[in-house]
């Protein structure tokens, strides 16, 4: 590194071995990435639960408007169908709300709690960095005195500098060791922590969708003319529309 101009205050020798520095960077980097992921996930989960709630609300509106329609008074069959649909939609909303609550409890809250640890980590890393700077500065000072002629006052200053250096170096090394030791443990803890959340999320979705599938399945059984397939209905609609278009009150010229 001789091409780098020697800065005042920087020690000549590398006080922190490159491997150690690299390890530190790597571990901290992983944790920084994890922090990003948890933040993004929190946001996305919030968006997702909001979207789910909006979806069930708009589904309910379909049946609500149908129910409040005067057509229901005039047509009993229509009323029955719409009432059944409304019941289904209301149940959908209820299940959805429950799903959201479950997700809130087992995923979003734990996410928040986990995320609240990161400020401490960042603070600790900052402190280590500060300690490192102090260490470097004092080390440079010691080296400076070491290079000078070994006169009395210089020796005294050297000794003093060495004394100053020692606690700072110990502090840094303690912090460094602590973080190097604890960061992987923190990183590893995420697996045990989040796997239950993941499983709970999957489970909540599966339960919700299977319930919904059953509800709408029952509804189709209840209401639908048996054996009507999509194509059949499509054809019927087309036929009816043509019939309508043939009416003189409707006809375009």
């Amino acid at each position: 590194m001789s091409w780098i101009p020697f800065k005042i205050g920087q020690p000549k020798k590398q006080i922190v071995p490159k491997t150690v520095e690299r390890d530190f960077e790597r571990e901290y980097g992983k944790l920084q990435q994890l922090e990003e992921q948890t933040k993004r996930l929190q946001k996305d989960m919030k968006k997702s639960t909001d979207a789910d709630l909006a979806m069930s609300k708009s589904a309910m509106k379909i049946s609500l408007d149908l129910l409040s329609n005067p057509l229901c008074e005039q047509d009993q069959d229509f009323l029955n169908m719409v009432t059944a649909l409304d019941t289904a939609m209301k149940r959908m909303d209820a299940f959805n709300q429950e799903k959201v609550n479950q997700i809130q409890k087992t995923v979003i809250e734990p996410l928040k709690k986990f995320g609240s640890v990161f400020p401490s980590l960042n603070m600790a890393v900052k402190r280590r960095e500060q300690a490192l700077q102090d260490y470097r500065r004092l080390q440079a000072k010691v080296e400076k005195y070491e290079e000078k002629e070994k006169t009395g006052p210089v020796l005294a200053k050297l000794h003093q500098a060495r004394e100053e250096l020692r606690p700072v170096r110990e502090d840094f090394e303690a912090k460094n060791k602590q973080l190097l030791d604890e960061m992987p443990r923190f990183y590893g803890s995420r697996l045990d922590y989040f796997q239950p959340s993941f499983e709970s999320l999957i489970r909540a979705q599966v339960v919700y969708y299977s319930e919904m599938h059953k509800i709408f399945g029952d509804l189709t059984q209840q209401l639908d003319q048996p054996g009507h397939s999509d194509e059949q209905r499509e054809r019927e609609n087309e036929a009816k529309l043509s019939e309508l278009r043939a009416l003189s009150i409707v006809a375009d010229d």
Binding site: A51, D65, L66, F114, N237, L244, S248, A251
Partner: protein
Amino acid sequence: KTPIGKSNLLDMGSLMIKPIQRVMKYPLLLCELRNSTPPSHPDYKALEDAFAAVKDINVNINEFKRRKDLVLKYKKNDEDESLKDKLSKLNIHSISKKSKRVTNHLKILTRGESQVKDNTFNKEEKMFRALEKTVRHCMKNISFCLQHVQDALPIALQSVRELQEISYNKDEEERGSSETLSNAPNPCHDFASHLQRLVLNPLSALLSLFPGPQKLIQKRYDKLLDYNSYLQRSAGDESDLAKKEYEALNAQLVEELQVFNQAAREILLNCLCSLITLLRDLMFVAQRTYSTVVLAPLLVSSISEIQNRVLEEVHNLNFVKDNSATFIERKLSFEKKKPVQILPEVPRQTDTHRSKLLSTYSAEELYQAKRKCNATQEYDINLLEGELVAVMEQKDPLGSTSRWLVDTGIVKGYVYSSFLKPYNPAKVQKADTENRFCDDDFDNIKVDEQIFYAVHAFQARSDHELSLQEYQRVHILRFCDLSGNKEWWLAETQGQKGYVPANYLGKMTYA
């Protein structure tokens, strides 16, 4: 020279008009026949009937044609008109027609039913209107719902993938299931395209068919108004025409609206059925997508256990313990708070109590509470403003003369003497206004002081907290901690700052 085999040259138009001409000839023929038959002839009756029947046929055909013509006339008009055309149609005649109609309409509104009424039509029209509203709302609501579905489902899938990423190491076996999740197609795709084809397209096509009949219904109403107005006057050619026009339009509409309503209803029901089926299928696809992940059975309660355990371990890491103020505060609020002594509800002073005091004690001993006093120390009592007390001793057990022992007639206890003033029944009213003034002063000073004292001693457990001795005075800098928790206040005393629990502090006023 006549060419051999030459038939009467007819073009298509003349050929087509032949039946009409023939039909119209019959009445004439029969009429002539009848006129030349003496009434006594046995065939006369039959001839009469035949003539009447044939005339009816002609009239019917005419009216039928009128209906169609009317409908065509009004249908065509509105579509191709520009503003200029509309303006050019305005003339005296049309304006007078319109104003007559408006008057008649108002007449009907204010005086009730018109004389001309068709219940069948009204029923059909009502259904028509209801159908239009239904179809319109369905279109709107289903479109919105589709939009929301298309928003919600992909985001949910995305979140699940993100959570999976942090929950598992990349090189673990769960990789298998993660691939199925990440490769899962958008579950809404089929739903959206089918919904468009089976529900939204038919409904929108149906919706576009409503305005036509709508216009005709309006026109019919105009004709009704015209007819109605003529009914009140003498019959004449004009009234006859109005009647014919109204009846033609009415009949046409009644007949065709029934068909329309029936067909529209069918389409609507079909679309709703399709919607329900599509929803069912969507739910199934979504369920299948998520079911691809294989899970171990797990109880909900154990989730929080596991997570709390992990979190505790994390929080025991040194870098966490050393570096978080908020953590400590939150940890402390998890712990059980020291139960705050809740003073029993003291019954308020009644007149009987007051009269008892008045009779038991002499006038010099009677005082009145200037303001509400809250008990803060042991043996203190609560007082409401204006309550009467009798002073028993002008000092407290520790010898301080600022706290007095008083009797309220219900309980005996201590209050700060600065809260009391001599009781003067004569000057009660004036005193009230003075009181109010005093209270304001109190409030101002109170805000400025922010001096509290420690009701109990408090031992700080970290650098962020402040140790207090009992009755030690502190100055409050902030009434909440960094995270907004109102149970911890930032206090300063003897040059030191730190957080103390709010319920350990008592307000200090004149002492």
